[in-house]
Every structure is written in structure tokens, then in C-alpha cells.
Symmetry: D2
Subunit: 351 residues, 4 copies
């Protein structure tokens, strides 16, 4: 069905499973003449690769991008950009023990219910590995957005319930948690070690911001900018909540507190997170996603087989302790895909 | 653009502004043979009308549904269902004072930025009044879902930061706050009176649940069931956050706490909120939306005119204190639209 | 399903049956600031009304347009334009005799097969009456195209196998057959009288041309400009064939004859009909549609009832002898809808 | 933009140019559990390869399919099917002479107008080579349709104005013109030799039929089955006309001749080509496409460069004399894609 595509004009369609030959996709609607190379995309893919932080496994998973079409002499041609990332490290045998087991917190049960057939090796299409295609497509969007000076940044604002106390987006580029607060790193590292020792896992909250966004992006009613962002982020596996600007806190404030008043220079605050009535206001866009703890844990859990037998499961091995920080570039990519699309839609009809 | 349509197979397209002749829409993809009458839709519209609760104005706003096509002898024919709700109470003069003012928290500024032209009377297309079409379309979806015994319920779980302490969805039908906790009503009523006296407004949190949902709804990757729900709910004006199941709390729990283990009878908990890997699990679907306080307040706020002059604004008159409870049937409608669509998509390809 | 919508950015969604309360639709994606009034649309609707020519019945069918949204102070606002045309002349009793009969050449049989339920009064959703919404939406597109000096014209190039011998599009505005050849009118009138006397009906061929189209419209691969045009025109009831430029004749010519060579001033011929590799070339767009004879005829035909009984049918009364000329503004409207959409898509990504 | 995708539920998205690394695509919406292998797809690709007939060049162009996802243990999983066909025979130098020339009848001029940048090597995205992805996707559709016993066949009914005099679809499988009339082969072969000697090229007409189609496929109004077919076929490069059933001939017949009357056993004729009011009737589906002569010819033609200089061009080398028969499996593939999609849409809402 259409669930493998995202976007209306700037649109990506992806394919691929964790244990097939590879993953990839097609980016449609990228304007012609945008500089694009495999290196540009590779840089973003490298941010997603495992082993970036203490919460990651040491699995060697080299994601090498191949651009298959749509780029000629270093620039986009305006036609479909096909791309491919071969799988390197499949090791199907790792997963044979769980062939008939429903791993708690995973899609094993629901995929069986939906399709009646399932590639049990590592989650198949439901594997987090599909996000490599999102990041690749997002990297294309990024090159387009760069030509408009729009800049999107993402970082971890909370890990396992411990929030960053300061937010310096620049700082997030330099550490293994994508933390905007270097001072919180020791606490987070301790937390990860502790939870790892317990055979357990952690979640967190990621914030994505976009600067230099023009006012006027988004559509009235169903395709509000924030609606598209929520759609984009909630579609990333492990995300269980999305909020814009003051978000859930807005529901506990009063109108006089939450409204962003205006002065001569424009808005005097940004509780709206850069979106008013679903349309960008020209302020910084601010969106956050709540990421659940990785469901694959070493601790023993009750579960059942696909044949209905009760049993127990302990998922050892090379699993991450947290989707953070690997999910950070994925969420950033999704925001870039939304913005590229909204920019083009607005171009189409702008007065 | 396509922002006035929602859904892939079961799909609604709406039109209308607060101060034009009326609002309405077209529902496509409703299967043939479903019993449908204007009364069935009217019942849902009446839940949305003002004056249901102490937080509402006394504006008389009779929303009378007219089915214009797609129903023959009391049943849907499978063809497009056109519907129309004439505007009754337009009183454009109420709004003339704000013709050139940007009301804080409203879309006045962003609509001007986007379109360069704006129906200033009551917000035009950005008015909450557009939700009447969502409720009408949702009522059609509801009749279809009823034939499958799927039942969707919505209620207020928090008002102005004060949570309901118990959740009995049945109880929510009988009171003016759509509260599932009758004992919290006095506190909420006091809070509303207090805030009204301050010329201020309140937000809250609404929960929507769906029972008897089959496992298998939702698509992998971008069109996960929770992604579609987040898209649907975040697109409702005033919603600033959406979460599924344990939501933001999941980000603060550990895998061993958040995973829903399984026993012989199925899942032993429902932190997932009925969605695993984006596909319904057959458990109760649980989704929540954070609603910001109504931006129209009597208290004086700084703002600017469209000509760039600084000024102040106080919005008196007949405005609600909170979007709750009027937003409750709107959010319920959006969930029903998502579910009807997902049921049909699954029918198309199920093995 | 999505079959009631057409277009990607400039997009219309319609509803309505011949014997319900009325018909209408929603136009999305029309840029803001375009002058638009009910009169502008009414003018196009009047071209479609019955009684324009000798091939038409004298049925009084006043199609009065009501714009319900999206226009403010005489200009489009950029938001959804809802419109409505009430049915005036329903007389359901005329159709009661054919309740259970499958009229040859009509959709009675196939609608029963598809939906299992059918509004038998006058064809329901399959009635040619649905085209009134296409004409209304096309009139909106026309006002947008006018701002770009793009002009679309349609006329009859063949009636009942008798071709117009000259083509002067201007002349087509002044006669009841939309004939671009005034000299052919007596032959066509005689033909109509003759066929009417036989209780039979006629088809024909309609040509639609667009002038001043910019080069560059259309998308590679599936959404070629000619593909979208074929989609648009073949979707009009009674159309059984579509061709672009030299069309079917191209299949019988040689490359050296069919290729449009180029000189200093551009193309030296226009066999391509203004479309090369699916993209507009800046030449005049030329497309033709083959219209089958009206299936409702007075002559006795064999048919069956929905219960499988063989029987005969003679459809007397007030039916047209030919879909021409009423279909002419419908086909023109469809071409305008395609062009408006393609212009906006090109605006979105043009370098 | 969205022009690289086709279909609503059963949906293909393609990418690739004649001179890049390769071509491919993604098939979404294929139901799970359908037997699928690379061999099944390869068989269809082989029907499209050059050198099948006297009208083809001897270029060696091995199109080897690689399935990258969506198939597990020989069956579709219901998730996205990625596929890839590497380019083997690129020889970019062949095209260097035409870098700045606009080849008559090709998209060189219009692609420049649209994108401002163009991969001049062999047409880039406008190359007929893109159809390899259509055939691959169509082969997937075919395997799905087989499970429903729906069978689609395509053959050449006219070459260079010389029609086949009999139509035996089985016979078309065995000869190099896909001719359903073995007796016409000598005439066609002579014609090809003659035209080849003139340095010229030929067009023709291809017919596609589908048997055992259920009644009820197609949507009212814009997505009629014939509209989708016209859209699908006209989108194939070189197609300039499409007709259903009696097609253009219907426009010259009378209602009493063109209507398909019904008897006890059903329809007594099939002028409708299996589609009534846009919905399949259960009769054989019959659709024809007019194919223009190949524009690349050895004969000298006038043209201009992208810098506006008049010049002449003669395209020698290894070009086909006609798109027939290589276009035959492409057109068949497009019809299968439409039918697979329409079957799934009908499944979704059928009563």
C-alpha cells in the first residue's frame, strides 16, 4: 500500500528489510540543479550507524549509499533519485531461535496478524533498519533546504528521564549522545552502564528545531505543518509521543501565558513552536518526540509462540540499550522531508 | 491543495469558513449498504455545539446537517456522500474591529503570510468552525465501524492541569465536561469560573479509545496506525501534542517496564496503547491529545497590526473559556476516520 | 474511494446524483487572489445546459451555481472552494418503469455488480448529470489560467461520422453544435433530424486546444501531460477514445512524416499536438475525444432485468440524440483542470 | 513529483535512466502470500529485450532483475517489493554528438524547457528504457492476477497501417511481431525491410485484452476503469492515442448499433470493450493504443541546437525501426498494473 511513501511533491518511497539484500528508495520531486553526491548522503548515514555511543552495540554495519539515478554531473536533474544501501551484516542465524516467538514490544505478533506471513529474521520490514532509507532521503532534502538557508538540527533533551539542563545545539554534534548539554554526559553514561548491567533498556526525548524557515508553510485543516510533522515523527518506530512548541505543557497553562504576544520586532515568545494555526510563523520550529526504551532486553520476559504456547524469552547479544542517539538523525531526516515538501507546496500556489 | 482531504480509501474532503454561507464536505469510500440518516449525523453534531458546558459561550449556533448525495432509501450507495451545514449565526460586525489586528495565538499573521489575502471575519478557514465537517464525516465513519462492532469513545482526562482521577468512559456521556470522573466535576467547574473571572482561558487533555479493533490495522513504515492517528489529531486546531499508550511516560520507563509481556490469554498489559510496530494488536487503542488554552481572551495582550504598528488587544464577548468539551467529539471523529480508512486498506490486501 | 477527485495540487472532488438534492464539489489548490464570481462559473454551466442544439431535449434544467466558500470580496482566498448546484427537475416517476431493467449501454448492470445497491433514478452517480460539477470546477481553473493568458477552446470536429471540413474555433461559439465549420451545419442538422426520426442516436468527435501554454508542463514517466489528459477525458461518460496531435494517424505514418522538425523559429509542424515526451513544447495543445452515441434510444432493444429475465426496452421521452454539443464544455473543463494542475506542479519545482 | 508512481493500492514507483547505473522501482500493495521469483519477472523482461524481431536492433541489452525486498521463501510478504535492473550497455560516447542537438520527435527540447538541465545521453529519464521497470512491476501484478485466474494478453493489430486480418492471441506468442495473424507476417516483414532501407521508421497499433475479469472494477466519475487504462497507456512513450472497445468507431455508429444488448446469457456483443459507465462488465476487456513511429531515423531532418542554431541531424546506428514489438509487453504490463489496483480497491469496499 501507500505506507512506504511520504510526502506530496518532495516524496520518498522506500523498501527493504534487515535481512534481505539491501534497502533503498526513490526520492521524487527534488528540484533540478541541486548539488548532490554520495558523500553528502553518506555523511548523514554515518551519524546513524551503530557504535556512536555507549548505548550502542559494536555490530559492524556499514551503510554504503549508492545513487542510482537522478543525478548528472553532480547535480540533481529533477527526475527520480533512486538509491540503494546493500546489507552487509545479515547473520540470519542469530535470529533462528526466535522464529516462532513473539518478542514483547516488537511487531512480531502484529505482523503475523496483518500479513499471515513474516520474515522473522530481525523484524523484516518492521526493523529499525528501514530508517536508513529515511536518513538517505532526508539528506537529499537537506541539500535542497540548504539552498534556501533552512537549517534543521536534532539532539537529545532527555535520556531515561534525566533531562539536559541546558540546550546548546552546537554541542550536540560532538558527543556520543547527541547531547546539547555536555555537563549531563557523565550522568547519562552512568545511567546507561547501570541499565546495561540490569539487562534492561532506556528511552528518551529528542528535540528537532528548524531555523530560518519562511512564514507561510503548511496547509489549512488536515495538512497543517504540525500535523505533517506529527505524522512524520510518530511513524518512526519507537516514537510514542510528539509535541510542538510548549506541547503537553500548553494544556496546563492559561491563554495569557501560552499566547505569544507580538511587538514591533515580531513575536515576544515562542510557545507555539513556530506554528500558528498550522502554518509556519517564521519563528524557530520546535518539535519533540518521545522515544520508548528498546524492547529487546536481556531480562527474561513472558511471551507466547505463534502457536499459542506460553514461554519465556531473553534477548541477549548485540542490541542497543537505547534508540538514542541513533534515532536522532532519523527524526531530523523526517523533519527535513516534511519541510522540503511544504516549501514546494507553498511555491506552487504562493500569490 | 490537498490539505482539505483526509484518508486514503475512506476519505473526507471539507470546505467552509466561519462567516461564509456554510460548511460541508464529501465522504468518499464509504462501503455501500451502510444505514445512514441525517439524524445519525446530527446527533454527533449536537455534541459539538456550544453551550454544552460552563466553559462554553451561549452563542446560538445551530448546525443542521443536509445529506446531498450518496444515500438512497436510508443506506449508503457506495458513491460520494456530499453534506452541507449552513451557517446560521454569522454576525460579521462582531469582527470588524480586528480586521487589521493579528490576534495572539491565532492564525491571522500566518494566513496573511501564506495567502496575502485573508477573510478576517472570525478566522476564515482557520476557524475552529471547520471542525463541524470533521464531526459530520466522523459520524459517517462511525456508522460503518458500528457494522464491525468497533466502538470509539472520547473524554476529558485533564482540564487546566487538574486530572480526572478515575476513568469511566460511560460517565463522560452525561456531563458537560465529558469527564470520565464525575467526582472531579466540582473542581473543574470552580476552575472555569475562576479563570473566566480573570478573563483568561484553559487547556486540557483528551483521551480517545477504540474497543474491539481487529489486529492487523496500519501499514509498515510511514503509515503506521499511530502515525495516522498523530497526523489526524495534531491537525485539529489547538492540539499541541499527541501520544499513544504510555506515550511520553514511556520515554522515562525501562524496557522491562514498558514492554507488554504476553500470556496464554494474550497481552498482560497495554503500555503500547494497542499499537505494536505501527499495527493494531487487537488491544484497546489509547491515544491522547494535548489541547492548548483558547487564545481569544479578555485580558489585554500586546500585538501588532498587519501594517506593523504595535498595539493592544482584548477579545471580549462570546468566546469559550476552553476548547474542551467541544473538541472532544472532534477528536473522536478524527480517530474514527483513521480507523475506517485503515479497516478498508486492510480489507484490500488481507490474505 | 478516491475516484471522485481529480488533480494533484489544483484538485477537484465532486459529489451528487441526478435525482438527489443536488450536485457540487470542492476545488482545492486554486491560488489566492484570483478574481472569481458565481457569474463566471454560471456562464460555463449555461454552455452545458440542454436545449442548446437540435440534438438536445427541451428539458428545463436550470443549473444555478452557489459558491459556498473560498472566495472573499470577489477573489479566491487560497482555501477550499465549495460549490453547489441544486437539482431542479427531478421527476423521479419518469424512471420508475426501468427500476429493475438494465438499460443497454448504461451502467445499470455494472453498478449493481459493483455496489449491490443502486439509485435507479436516472443513473444515480453514473448519470451524465455529474458533469455539471466538472464544468463548475473547470470554470474556476479557467479564471486561474486566464491570469496566465492560457486559453482553452473546444469544438465538434465530427458528428455521426460527418467531419467538419474547416476548423475555425471562433465560429464554434456561435452555433448550436459548437461547430468550427458553419458550412457543415445544414448537413449535421439533417443528420440529427433523420436519426431522431429513427428513434436512434449519434456520436461524434470533439477537439480541445490550448493556446499560449508554456513549455515544460507534465511529468516524466506516468504523469506525462498527455497521460493526464487521456485520464481526464476518458473519464467523461460516453468517451471511448482519446488521441493527442496526429493520434491514431501517427501509427500509420513514417517517422520522417510524423516528426516535427525544427527551424530558427521553432517547430515546423505540430503532429505532436504540443506534447513531446509527455512535456508541453509550447506549441498549441491538441487533443481529441471520441464520443459514443447516447445509449438511451426509442428503438426497441433486448435486455434483461436484474432478476435475470429477458425482456425488451424502448426509452422514449426527453433524451438527447447526441452528447454533442453538451459534452463540449465538459471536455474543455477537464483539459483546463489538467492544465491548472500541471502549471502549479511545474511552479513547485521549476529551477 | 508524483509522476514516477502509478496506482493507488497496488502501486509502483520507478527510477532510472538509460545511462546511469541502472533502473528499478518499488511495488507497494501486493498482497502477501503470492508466489514470486526473479525468474517469473525475468520471463516478462525477456519479451521486451531488443532483437526479438526484424524491426529491432542487435544491441545487446541484458536486463537482469534483482528482487531486493518483499519476498521471503518464495512468497510476497505484503511489504514493499524493491527491484533493480543494472544497466549493462551504456556506451555514452554514442550520444556525444547530439549533446546540444534537439532530436526531432524526442523530449530533448521539452526536458530542457522543464528542468533547465538534462542528461543528454540517450534521453535520460525520457528514454524508452524506463519501461523496463514497468514490465518488472507488471510481472508482479501478473502473478497476483493469476491467483484470480485473470489473464492479460497483448498483440500487434496493425503495423505501419497494415492491419492483422485475423486475431488469434495465442499465435502472437510465437512470432517476432507479436502478431495474432501469422499470415500477415510476410507483409509486415517486407514493410520493415523497405522502411529500413529508406532510413525511416514505422508505428502501429497494439491491442490488450483481459479475460476472466470480474464485473465491478473501476470507480465512478474520475477513476473509471477506462480512464485509468487510458492514463496508463498514454503515459507510455510513443503512444498517441488510446481507445476502448469500439473506440473511435463508436463515434461514427448509431446507438442502436453500438449498444450491447442483453439476452439470457448476458451481453450479446462487446462494443463497450468490457467497460460500462467506467465499471467492468465481466466481458473481455479490450483496449488499443496507437504507437507513433520511432523518432530516431537515419534520414536527414532539420533541427536546432539548444543555443538556437539551425542545423541538420541524421540518427544512424542501432535504433529500432519500430517500437513494435518491444512496446507490446510494456502495454500489457500497464494494463495489469491497472487491473491489480482496481481489484484491490474493489476488495476494500465491496458489499
Amino acid at each position: 500500500m501507500s505506507g512506504d511513501s511520504f510526502g506530496r511533491i518532495f516524496r520518498v518511497t522506500t523498501f527493504g528489510e534487515s535481512h534481505g539484500p539491501g534497502l533503498g528508495g526513490v526520492v521524487q520531486g527534488c528540484p533540478p540543479g541541486i548539488p548532490l553526491s554520495e558523500e553528502m548522503i553518506q555523511k548523514e548515514l554515518d551519524l546513524r550507524k551503530p557504535g556512536r555511543g555507549p548505548s550502542s552495540t559494536r555490530r559492524k554495519e556499514e551503510d554504503r549509499i549508492h545513487i542510482l539515478s537522478g543525478v548528472f554531473e553532480g547535480r540533481t536533474t529533477g527526475t527520480a533519485i533512486g538509491f540503494y544501501i546493500p546489507n552487509q551484516d545479515q547473520r540470519s542465524r542469530d535470529y533462528s531461535a526466535i522464529r516462532d516467538l513473539y518478542r514483547p514490544g516488537h511487531g512480531d505478533f502484529t505482523y503475523d496478524a496483518k500479513f499471515g506471513i513474516r520474515d522473522h529474521r530481525g523484524g523484516g520490514r518492521s526493523s529499525g533498519r528501514e530508517t536508513v532509507s529515511r536518513v538517505a532521503a532526508g539528506a537529499v532534502a537537506q541539500e535542497f533546504l540548504k539552498t534556501l538557508k533552512i537549517r534543521v538540527t536534532a539532539y537529545t533533551v532527555e535520556l531515561g528521564g534525566v533531562p539536559a539542563r541546558t540546550v546548546n545545539p552546537e554541542a550536540a554534534q560532538d558527543n556520543s549522545f547527541a547531547s546539547p548539554d555536555p555537563d549531563i554526559l557523565p550522568s547519562w553514561e552512568n545511567l546507561v552502564q547501570e541499565v546495561k548491567a540490569q539487562g534492561d533498556s532506556l528511552g528518551g526525548i529528542v528535540e528537532v528545531v528548524a531555523d530560518n524557515l519562511p512564514a507561510g508553510l503548511g496547509q489549512p485543516v488536515f495538512d497543517k505543518l504540525d500535523a505533517r510533522l506529527a505524522y512524520a515523527l510518530m511513524g518512526v518506530g519507537a516514537v510514542k509521543g510528539v509535541e510542538i512548541g510548549s506541547g503537553f505543557a500548553a494544556s496546563r497553562s492559561k491563554g495569557s501565558q501560552n499566547n505569544d504576544q507580538m511587538g514591533k520586532e515580531g513575536f515576544l515568545s515562542n510557545n507555539a513552536g513556530g506554528v500558528l494555526a498550522g502554518i509556519s510563523s517564521g519563528q524557530t520550529l520546535v518539535v519533540r518526540a518521545a522515544v520508548k526504551p528498546i524492547p529487546s532486553i536481556a531480562r527474561t520476559q513472558k511471551t507466547m509462540t505463534r502457536h499459542g504456547t506460553e514461554t519465556e524469552i531473553s534477548i541477549g547479544g548485540r542490541h542497543d540499550i537505547s534508540a538514542i542517539p541513533r534515532i536522532v538523525p532519523v527524526l531530523k531526516a523526517m523533519v527535513m522531508l516534511v519541510l522540503a515538501d511544504m516549501v514546494l507546496l507553498q511555491r506552487a500556489v504562493k500569490p
